[in-house]
Symmetry: D2
Subunit: 147 residues, 4 copies
């Protein structure tokens, strides 16, 4: 797996090219092979009508965590497309900050399945607020989709 | 269904209390009973690493369209929680603007199922880029979750 | 699309090689390009603990309807694998017979997305009992997976 | 949680009233609080056109494992309805027998989320073939839906 030795650097660079991550204030806080974490401080501009973190923003961060977990194991000349994902919103998106953990459940040369979990963090124990299962496709040779 | 006569105004007000919608630049462009549409101009700040609209932002707008489609049929003293949704990302999020259409597939007093479709619009025909199925729960008597 | 001219016959043959369809008593009742229907009489042996058609059996028939809807548009030397599906069970599986309708929402050379709907039929109007979104992958050159 | 002390017996009884489980040859092999396992020998009558265990049968067994995992924590006078589930089919359903593991991810008084995993077992290590996330609703006072 020589060609993924530099996956941390490639993930950081790719993440840095995602303006949506800057817009929602997300940062990469952990990169391991097959596992990535993203964090987000609570920000009122990301809330829905009840003042809670919008479920769509939860899914934006989870999708990104799952995608980069998968990214860590693909060849350097390949990229990924998210085909689909499902999110269960289990508790209100209320907290000082949020942790989004993505990891590979099933690697593959064409299809990679990843699972994610989102946690709200304040004082006290982290609270599970959402889970995701995402299906990604490994793509090669598409010049419009690189990294 | 007297108590939903003013659903258009209630939806506009609730939408106006969603900072996340302002952050992504979404506007309500159609409100019918059991069907709502939201539009979004393309904005580079919402893109992922390939310059396409982030799948999470697609799901944020679809979730909102589905939620308000459901909102149009619930009693005035009730509110909605999205329990879960699934998104299929079918074509790249590339276009001048995007249309998100949500409609109720199965109404209910406790559980409402809605389906959404997202389209990219430029010159030429609208292009289907994503679909969603969302499950919402009707909640009452929770003072922290109103409207 | 010359090579799909005989899709009806290929679908009938493939369906006939699915013992699971015989086990649940399903029959193909409609084959169009991009759209397939399957029917099933109510059978107590397929029920769950409340005497209703088991949700897993609903998904078995819907998955098959969606798969053959996709099958109708792929090349003759290709086959399909269901990558994932989601089912919403919206009303109890109670009826004299059940109709499962699958159709393609998004065709593609690698990934095909299909949607399905299940109806319970007795006297009176057909009742929507479930919906499915399924993601299929077109595969070629795998001798273990043909037709 | 006195009223769930006898959850093992109640689960066995409810499982025994599911003709679909007998039809597919499934047996309950493990019942713990919040976790249930079901097993199934390979049977050609449950296969699809490639001779593999049908994905719908995989989902039938996973749905049942997830439902009884949830069943173990609800009050004795309550029952469960599966609202929706998503299945990812990750490897072919090929093996001597299959193990379906369901466990609660998020308990709740109204909504319970459970996750399931399916494994194919032959000689050698168990192989993960599918995962499920299922959303169940706790229902009371519906005489047509008991146990």
């Amino acid at each position: 797996m020589d060609d993924t030795d530099d996956f941390r650097e490639r993930i950081r660079q790719s993440f840095g090219r995602q303006p949506a991550m800057e817009t929602i204030g997300a940062t990469l806080t952990r990169i391991e092979q097959a596992m990535v974490e993203i964090e987000l401080p609570f920000d009122p501009k990301l809330t829905q009508q009840h003042g809670l973190l919008h479920g769509g923003i939860v899914s934006t961060a989870l999708d990104t965590a799952c995608t980069y977990a998968a990214f860590s194991v693909i060849p350097v000349d390949a990229s990924l497309l998210t085909i689909e994902f499902k999110v269960n919103l289990m508790s209100p998106g209320r907290g000082e900050r949020f942790l989004f953990h993505g990891e590979i459940t099933k690697p593959g040369s064409t299809i990679i399945v990843a699972d994610g979990r989102a946690y709200a963090i304040s004082d006290g124990p982290a609270k599970l607020i959402a889970s995701m299962t995402a299906t990604m496709m490994v793509v090669r040779g598409r010049e419009d989709i690189v990294g």
